[in-house]
Structure formats: C-alpha cells, structure tokens
Subunit: 168 residues, 2 copies
DNA sequence: ACCGTCATGTAATCGGTTACATGATTCT
DNA sequence: AGAATCATGTAACCGATTACATGACGGT
C-alpha cells in the first residue's frame, strides 16, 4: 500500500525495540544510536509514525489528559514487515553525495576545500570515537559497535583523502 | 529567492561548462562524470533547469521546429552564484545513510549482509577504476581524477569493513 | 515495415525540510 | 519571577521520485 522507506524501517525498528514509544522518545534514540550516519529531523518522527499507523504497521494510543502524547507500538503487520526487511540482504548502495567532492568536481580550489573539510571530518571522527567508547563501556551489542566502527573507518578515509589533496 | 540545492549547482556547473545544453545533454554528462557519487534522475534534469530559468539563473531558448528542445545557458546571475559557491569552502558533511549499515544496526545477520554488500561494493570499485583509467587516458583535469580517486578509496574502505564483518 | 532502444518530455504524488508555535521544566 | 532550554507538535512548501507517454532513429 504505502511505500516503506528507510525512515519507515528506522521507526519500525526503534519502536519495536522500545515496545512503546512517543515521537520524542524516538528522537532521543535516533541521535544516540544511528545519528552519526542517518539522522532524521524531529518533525519526521511525528509524521512518519502517523503514516505507518494509518497503514496498519503501528498502533497508536493517545494520552487522554495532560500533553496528550501519542504512544506507538508495532502491530503484527509491522513486525512482519520489519522481519522481512531484516532478513533480506541488499545490494543497494548509497551514494556519497558529498558537498566537498561536488565542489571539487566543479573546479573549486582543492587546497581551499581541503582545510575546511579536513577539520570537519576530524571533528566527526572524534565524535564517532567517543560514541564507540561509550558503546563499548555500555556493553552495547556487537552490531552497534560495528556500525560505529564503519563510521570511524569512513572518517579516516576522508581524512586520508583530503590530506592528500592538501598536499605535502 | 529560490533555494539553490546541490542539484542546482550541478546543473549550473554543467551548463556553464557546456556553454549551452539541453536536459538530455545534462543527463549524459551527469552519468559520465559525477554519476558515481551523485546521480540525478532525468526528470529532475528537466525540472531543475526550468526552476533555475524562472529564477533568472539560466536562460532558455526553445527550438521552433521539430522536437522543440529547450537549450539552456547560464546568465550573469547564474555565473555569479556558481562562482560564489565554488569559492566558499564547506564544512558540511554528508551522511552515509547506507542501507546495509542500517540493517546491520537493527540486527540483521551480519554475515548474510556481508556477502551481498561485498559483491556490490566490489562491482562499484571496478566501475570506478574503469572510470579512473578512462579519465587518465583522456587526460582529464586533475579534479576529475581526484574525485574518482575518492570514490575508489571509499569503495575500498567499505570492502575492508564488510570483509571484517564476514569474518575469517 | 517493424522492433527495439534512445531521446524527450509531463504529471502526480509524497517524503522531507523549514518555519512557526506553545507547554513544561529547570536554573539563577 | 523571569529566562533559558527542553519537549512537543502542526503547517506549508518544495524538491525528488515514480510513472506514464510519445517521437525519432538505427538495424534486420
């Protein structure tokens, strides 16, 4: 019926893990976990669960008093969709779509770009390292750590690249 | 007035380089050059120049007979916008948003993912290498080659990562 | 003459971004 | 008590994707 996007699966996955969650809960978890490589603006975390609920993947319980928050949980249909998604490998690749590379490709001055990009990627690398050590300290599951490691590897690769561009 | 997106700059940049171009020309060039890390569906290459023309960044000349193709060229305003963009470094970073990593983060079986992802990234690596050697043979400008190199580096990094996940 | 593929375009829909707005808490 | 920040939500707009459609052209 509706198209399930990556955002949909993020929401399904997070709600499934939490049992029940409000958009705000989701927001918290998103930035704490996959925020490093897949962020979602908070307004989407209101819109998307609603869409999923309309299509029967989530059920909605609204508080009767106070803030009237909406609490979502996964339905059978939702759980099934999530499971199917998880057990199907993808050969889809995501494109880099990197602003720095784009400017480079269109003739911006490489050395000028390199400075700023290097700094930005070094900042990110630091964040990811912090995240990685938090995850380790918290005894997070292996996958979480792998994902953080992937991020670290990519940041390092970017840094290598821009250093080379910056020249000796 | 209007928001200039990365797509806008791609169009501006390509039209500027070509002098005059139809959407179809753009389509060709996109896949030949930045296609590897920043693709744009052809319908966008019809819509975006129109948008840019309405806002005064491009001028439009329509054939009077036959296919009535639209030919675009860059106006002064367009050229200026492009130049400003090119000489401003960015600290913006693009997120990976990688489907494979996402599934990994939500508990898909790592080894299962690794196989398919590895194959896909190896295919891409090969493509990028081919592109790189074509560029070199054609004596393409340094930046073009750098961009291709960046792609190669990333593909390699992905491959390292998924090999590690696949385990010994 | 026909078929397939390249070339060219438009329309509809929708997810995502940006901006706005206000209730709760916490801190000084 | 007031300011600042966190929490929570809605609305409007718009770029991007998907789907549909047809014209030209090269080969058999």
């Amino acid at each position: 019926m509706i198209q399930l996007t990556q955002t949909s699966y993020v929401v399904l996955g997070l709600v499934a893990r939490a049992g029940e969650a409000t958009p705000y809960d989701l927001k918290q978890v998103v930035s704490a976990t996959i925020g490093g490589f897949f962020s979602i603006p908070h307004s989407q975390l209101y819109a998307e669960p609603e869409r999923l609920a309309r299509a029967g993947y989530l059920s909605e319980r609204r508080e009767r008093t106070g803030r009237r928050r909406k609490h979502y949980s996964v339905t059978g249909k939702g759980r099934e969709a999530l499971r199917d998604w998880l057990r199907t490998p993808t050969d889809e690749l995501y494109e880099l779509r990197d602003p720095g590379l784009l400017k480079l490709a269109f003739g911006a001055d490489p050395k000028m770009l390199a400075g700023t990009q290097l700094a930005a990627h070094e900042r990110r690398l630091q964040e990811l390292r912090d995240l990685a050590s938090v995850l380790e300290a918290a005894g997070a599951p292996e996958e979480q750590r792998l994902v953080a490691d992937a991020g670290v590897g990519h940041a390092r690769e970017y840094i290598r690249f821009w250093k080379r561009v910056a020249g000796p």
